[in-house]
């Protein structure tokens, strides 16, 4: 079947194909995107109506088949690395995704403008996070987060940032991405730096301190090195950021992500 050439899913609306696609999805995609396609540690929420890398059948097919350069999304076609799905199986997966995705683009329930004010103002998100080139560097750039992550994930990331640390650099052949772990080092001269791990291996550490300075260390030359999975980001409780204000911030993230 020469399915790839077409722009439309030949199984569109086919419930049986969607069911087969669910099995394929669980076997091939759930590892990153979660069992229900609601997003996982590194894979975006696919139940969103809008997909960052294109939402048409043809674009979804391309994304699955060829992967997304510069991201952790690998090519999944049969002629690529990995187990590989046939064209038919990829269309089935698309049928499944269509069956679980929201009917309409997520609507911001909060106030976008106020969310932006909070982001750059009293909530101080921009101290560490950047959106479209403006903001801090210590935490992940949030320009596309709103289009990729489920609301649940975003809420959890604000209320309990240490629960699941955000993922940083993903190297081509390395299975696991670096996470935003907290690190405190004391150099041989006795200078102390605290910050986030940008990358590390057994012998070296690449970090950014809280003043956004990069430090590159050979571990055996340090007086001490302590890593922690307690995020440098404070947990925003109700007192710091009310549910309503949080909704506004999420609305802003969503609006930015949709651009």
């Amino acid at each position: 079947m020469a399915l790839r050439a077409q722009d439309k899913n030949p199984f569109a609306g086919d419930a049986k194909a969607a069911k087969l696609g669910e099995s394929q999805f669980r076997a091939n995609c759930a590892f990153c995107h979660g069992l229900g396609a609601r997003g996982g540690g590194r894979g975006p929420d696919l139940s969103r109506a809008q997909k960052r890398h294109g939402n048409s059948d043809a674009e979804l097919f391309r994304t699955i088949n060829e992967g997304v350069p510069g991201t952790a999304m690998p090519p999944n076609g049969a002629t690529q690395q990995g187990v590989g799905m046939t064209e038919e199986e990829i269309w089935q997966v698309i049928s499944y995704i269509r069956s679980v995705q929201a009917k309409a683009p997520a609507q911001a329930v909060g106030n976008v403008a106020h969310g932006k004010e909070l982001f750059y103002g009293s909530a101080a998100c921009s101290t560490c996070h950047m959106i479209q080139g403006k903001g801090g560097r210590l935490g992940p750039d949030l320009s596309t987060t709103g289009s990729a992550r489920s609301t649940d994930y975003l809420v959890e990331s604000v209320r309990n940032p240490s629960r699941r640390l955000a993922q940083g650099i993903s190297e081509a052949m390395k299975e696991f991405s670096q996470e935003y772990e907290t690190v405190t080092v004391v150099t041989a001269e006795g200078t102390k730096f605290m910050g986030v791990v940008l990358n590390e291996d057994h012998f070296t550490l690449q970090m950014m301190d809280t003043r956004e300075h990069l430090h590159l260390f050979e571990k055996d030359k340090l007086r001490s090195l302590e890593k922690s999975r307690e995020s440098l980001m404070p947990a925003y409780d109700q007192k710091t950021l009310s549910d309503k204000d949080l909704q506004d911030v999420l609305a802003y993230l969503l609006a930015v992500g949709a651009q």
Partner: protein
């Protein structure tokens, strides 16, 4: 070396096309002999040379270095006192993407390796310069489960042997890379592929297949090295009327998996070859294949001349966690005991009597939750509630295993067994699917569990007498690199962060490391030329060699 190569080439060309006078041939042979201090470059590897591989430690004649599968080099020029001074000597780039898993062979100054997408190459082992390069034109619809990989060649006579992703076995002329013969083992479109390095025994080339993720029926084949004629086939899933067939429900045996995708070992003393097998299909769903599912996840003792089964030992019965037993079965002798050591993907280290397949003991070498009891023979038994569920069931080790295909090594000097361990638990969730020929057939999903701590890895030194760990070298994240031990008191391994590392074999202390620039997905080896020892490892698209300055 150059002069002799030319002499050899001239001699052959004259012989082939001109019909040489006896006198001239003699003169040329004499010329070749006077340069005899240099290695012979005729690549004539007799079966006896393979048996006696210990007599030529400068060469690496098979995937695991010797028939015992020890991945031990008797070379000691690079040792604990000078390893810190190791430097890169040369690199060879395949320029291919994906995992580069090869262990090259070295025979008399020539290095033979394989690359992604069924590349093969012969290099001047002194300089890394290619002598010939081969790449198979693969069909577009091959189904390698886990990358377009290959782990290496076998050599016998004047040929090297390659298993292909479209399930062929190919003999290449060791001097030119020309195809001498090419046989189809089975129809690849059903999900079969070959990724392992074949094993040459006597006049035979023994090979197994991959495809446990596609509902194949696994087998091990032997081919006549001279002609490519198939001499025997051992189905790792017994057919009707054969012993073990009753361990499969209904027709499930037809798609029962049990691929044999890692190179076996060979005991010339008893003329027995040992092969290991992978998961039953579907890999993570036991429903529909009630029974032990022989000979999945097993160690098989076969007669290399007939393919007849002498005995078997099954590590994980009726497996639904993808615990392939495809780890090199390492032969070790301790006093009167003739043993096989295997650190299994299921997290247990097994000591097995290789004369009869009886278990001596099994001890965990990594975190294990799938089993909490043993049967009367000491064989670990699966917990009833360890199976995948629809909602997901957290089990250790995860689907990639406590170890995998990356080679372990046994060092006869320290008498320790070194294995790459992965500490990763997964959530196993069923994903029922119907069998369809050539389609992925897992019956489940798995994904990393929600543990707060990240997954880690380690190279562990295990005392085979007790199964206890003597030391470990911790990796920041799990790795797919194997290990090499050497008479220089060293163990070499790699990590996912791209380091190639030399450790002191006795203590695990790091003596040297080199950043290769990509995760190491291969097992290192060592060779010597001109009296200089090299250590080689594949990483990224480069085969790298190291030596003393």
């Amino acid at each position: 070396m150059k002069r002799e190569t030319m002499n050899g080439a001239i001699e052959e060309r004259f012989r082939a096309s001109l019909g040489m006078t006896h006198l001239l041939v003699s003169a040329l042979v004499f010329l070749a002999l006077v340069s005899g201090a240099e290695p012979s470059l005729h690549a004539q590897v007799t079966p006896q040379r393979l048996v006696d591989s210990a007599k030529e430690p400068q060469n690496w004649l098979m995937y695991s270095g010797d028939y015992a599968g020890r991945r031990f080099s008797a070379l000691e020029q690079i040792n604990t006192s000078n390893a810190a001074r190791l430097v890169p000597k040369w690199a060879y780039q395949t320029m291919a993407g994906g995992k580069f898993e090869t262990t090259p062979l070295v025979v008399d100054g020539i290095l033979y390796g394989t690359g992604q997408d069924n590349r093969a190459f012969a290099l001047d082992a002194r300089s890394g310069r290619p002598i010939w390069q081969y790449q198979r034109a693969l069909p577009a619809d091959i189904r390698p489960c886990c990358g377009r990989v290959n782990r290496g060649l076998a050599i016998l006579g004047d040929k090297v042997f390659l298993g292909t992703l479209d399930a062929h076995v190919i003999a290449l002329d060791a001097k030119t890379g020309s195809v001498v013969w090419d046989v189809t083992t089975v129809d690849y479109s059903k999900g079969y592929s070959i990724t392992l390095a074949p094993l040459a025994i006597k006049n035979l080339v023994i090979i197994g297949v991959s495809g446990g993720e596609y509902g194949i029926r696994g087998f091990i084949d032997a081919y006549d090295a001279a002609t490519g004629e198939r001499k025997w086939r051992f189905y790792t899933v017994p057919g009707p009327g054969e012993p073990g067939h009753e361990t499969w429900e209904g027709d499930s045996w037809k798609i029962g998996g049990a691929p044999a995708w890692i190179t076996g070992t060979y005991d010339p003393a008893t003329n027995t070859t040992f092969w290991t097998t992978g998961n039953p299909s579907p890999s993570n769903r036991g429903e529909g294949r009630a029974g032990d599912n022989l000979y999945s996840n097993s160690l098989l003792a076969l007669d290399p001349e007939t393919g007849k089964l002498k005995w078997y030992f099954q590590f994980s019965k009726h497996d639904d966690h993808d615990y392939d037993a495809t780890q090199v079965p390492v032969m070790v002798d301790q006093g009167d005991r003739r043993l096989i050591l295997q650190a299994n993907r299921n997290g247990f280290f097994y000591l097995i009597d290789r004369t009869n397949g009886k278990l001596v003991f099994a001890n965990p070498f990594a975190k294990v939750t799938w089993s909490d009891s043993k049967d009367a023979n000491g064989v670990p038994v699966a917990r009833k509630d360890a199976s995948p569920t629809l909602e997901g069931n957290r089990v250790c080790p995860g689907a990639a295993g406590a170890t995998n295909w990356m080679s372990p090594t046994y060092d006869p000097q320290t008498q320790l067994f070194y294995v790459t361990a992965r500490e990763q638990c997964d959530i196993f969730s069923t994903a029922p699917q119907a069998y369809e020929a050539g389609h992925a057939y897992y019956g489940s999903a798995y994904f990393p569990n929600d543990d707060a701590a990240p997954f880690t890895g380690a190279l562990r030194a295990i005392d085979p007498n007790t199964g206890k760990m003597k030391w470990e070298w911790k990796h920041p994240s799990p790795t797919w690199a194997g290990a090499l031990s050497t008479a220089g008191g060293l163990v070499f391994t790699g990590d996912a962060e791209g380091n190639f590392i030399a450790l002191e074999a006795a203590s695990g202390k790091a003596l040297w490391h080199f950043q290769c620039g990509a995760s190491v997905y291969s097992s290192p080896m060592s060779f010597a030329i001109d009296g200089k020892q090299y250590v080689a490892v594949a990483a990224g698209s480069a085969l790298l060699t190291f030596g003393l300055p």
